[in-house]
Symmetry: C2
Subunit: 303 residues, 2 copies
């Protein structure tokens, strides 16, 4: 695919990863590339050379190729800081895209800004693009979009706008608890046990105040020989998700929910929400990202 | 104090620290020594030489000096594994003290075992000795003993026995959240702001299910310039304590509470409990430890 030339290029550039797609004249994906050169590993002057290395083969010499990028690349520590939009707002507004100047004159880079909420204070970078992409397929959606991950976003959307949102650090909590606390001795790095997941889920949902005690129980049951590492892993995951579903009842109890995230996480969230009495659909995360960046491209270049 | 000779020696040997006291014939403390050679840094054959190095000056050559030790020194990875007592039980029972054999014939070492609870599974090592020490001063106490720390213990005591207990990993959660999550960029290593502590406390106590969202708020408010590092530290502390107090209402709502722990932590716990509608007294942790080990010594040597 080395001689593919892109009409434009889509880039999802997060804190730890960069993914890029060569898009053709009719909007089809011609080629794909990825790297673990995320925002947090790059100095400001390293973004352009990193980008050009990844997409260089897709760029023609006789015209300027637009690059639309979203994610932490637009953070303060990123390539160019893109000022946040403020809720309520459409997820992507062409007047707020931020250009990143380049030495290479063959590309023209625009970054999608994140969205902030003043009260209560909250921020997102990247998820607004996935929401924009989902809204391309369902412009009149009135409900919740939940984006599971390290920092889970619960977002109320209506009339094409992000109305309000709340971020839950559930994924990061899972990570530090399983890697950095004494529970690391009791938990496997992979594996699953669905009944343990569901037990943890109900414990967390019914008694969120017992989180620090439920965590110690994992360790104690493991020491006393009653809990294997796979079950501990599933129960910790269920516990933290149950606590999150307790805290998000005002989002999901009266609204439809759409999950956008990795296949595995989305499956767990859907199942968990169903168990505690809600229900949600899922929407493919890659389609969401590409449709969102495509909407940014069309806003900027089709008028 | 190099020529002090002890009647017996008290040792509190935890995971990260070792503290030893030379006790005289009338029970008074003659000398003190400490080290950061905790259980987790020592191999099995290093315990005796470490002990002898710390207390060697207090041992006479013409008689055997008893050493009474409590804490993680009796864990599976410690000097000698002491089998747990099982609730309900008196905190220290002379028939369950475990001797650690030594090459040095001038000392005779006995370890106080920890206490386990089968359902729900829970364990303690060291706290049972502090509870025994507190009960020396109030043998008929009927209520709650709370021991704040890395792994906080809430313990129901009556008729001289540990009836049931629950461990909360609150201290360890505070540590990993402030050191290993993105909140580390927003939080000072020391300092305090009492109104932020109380705000976090009420947030946690009223809505424990929002923990992962409250954590992200700390970061978001910091990025948006609304929160300094001292306030973030106090609010995180209050948040986690508020969640714990939500989860322990069945302990403290109908019972007197005595806190045994570091002066600073105990002060925060007392204030927090008062704010959410309970109340508690404090008992000096060093007196508790020494009285507990003394009770073990007397049980073993005075009959």
């Amino acid at each position: 695919m080395n001689n593919v030339k892109a009409t434009w290029i889509a880039a999802d550039w997060g804190a730890t990863h960069m993914r890029a797609w060569a898009i053709g004249i009719s909007g089809d994906v011609l080629s794909y590339n990825e790297s673990n050169e995320g925002m947090k590993d790059l100095q400001q002057d390293q973004f352009e050379p990193t980008l050009v290395r990844l997409i260089g083969n897709w760029i023609g010499n006789d015209k300027i190729t637009p690059v639309m990028a979203c994610g932490m690349v637009g953070a303060r520590e990123g390539w160019v800081e893109t000022p946040y939009q403020q809720t309520p707002c459409v997820p992507i507004n062409k007047n707020q895209l931020t250009a990143a100047s380049t030495h290479d004159s063959r590309i023209q880079v625009n970054l999608v800004p994140g969205v902030m909420q003043l009260e209560p204070a909250d921020i997102m970078r990247g998820e607004e693009t996935q929401i924009a992409g989902f809204l391309e397929s369902d412009p009149n959606y009135d409900g919740i979009v939940c984006l599971p991950g390290t920092h889970v976003k619960w977002v109320k959307v209506s009339e094409g706008k992000i109305r309000k949102f709340t971020t839950f650090m559930t994924g990061e909590l899972f990570s530090v608890i399983s890697l950095n606390t004494l529970i690391r001795h009791s938990i496997d790095a992979s594996g699953w046990h669905q009944p343990s997941f569901e037990k943890g889920l109900m414990n967390g949902f019914e008694n969120p105040g017992l989180i620090a005690s439920e965590l110690f129980s994992l360790r104690a049951e493991s020491i006393l020989g009653e809990l294997d590492g796979k079950s501990a892993r599933a129960r910790l995951s269920g516990l933290l998700l149950g606590i999150e579903l307790h805290g998000t009842q005002n989002y999901w109890q009266e609204n439809p929910v759409v999950f956008i995230g990795s296949e595995l996480l989305t499956k767990h969230y859907q199942k968990a929400l169903q168990i505690v009495g809600g229900n949600g659909l899922s929407f493919n995360v890659e389609i969401a990202t590409l449709s969102g960046l495509s909407s940014a491209y069309k806003q900027l270049h089709n008028n």
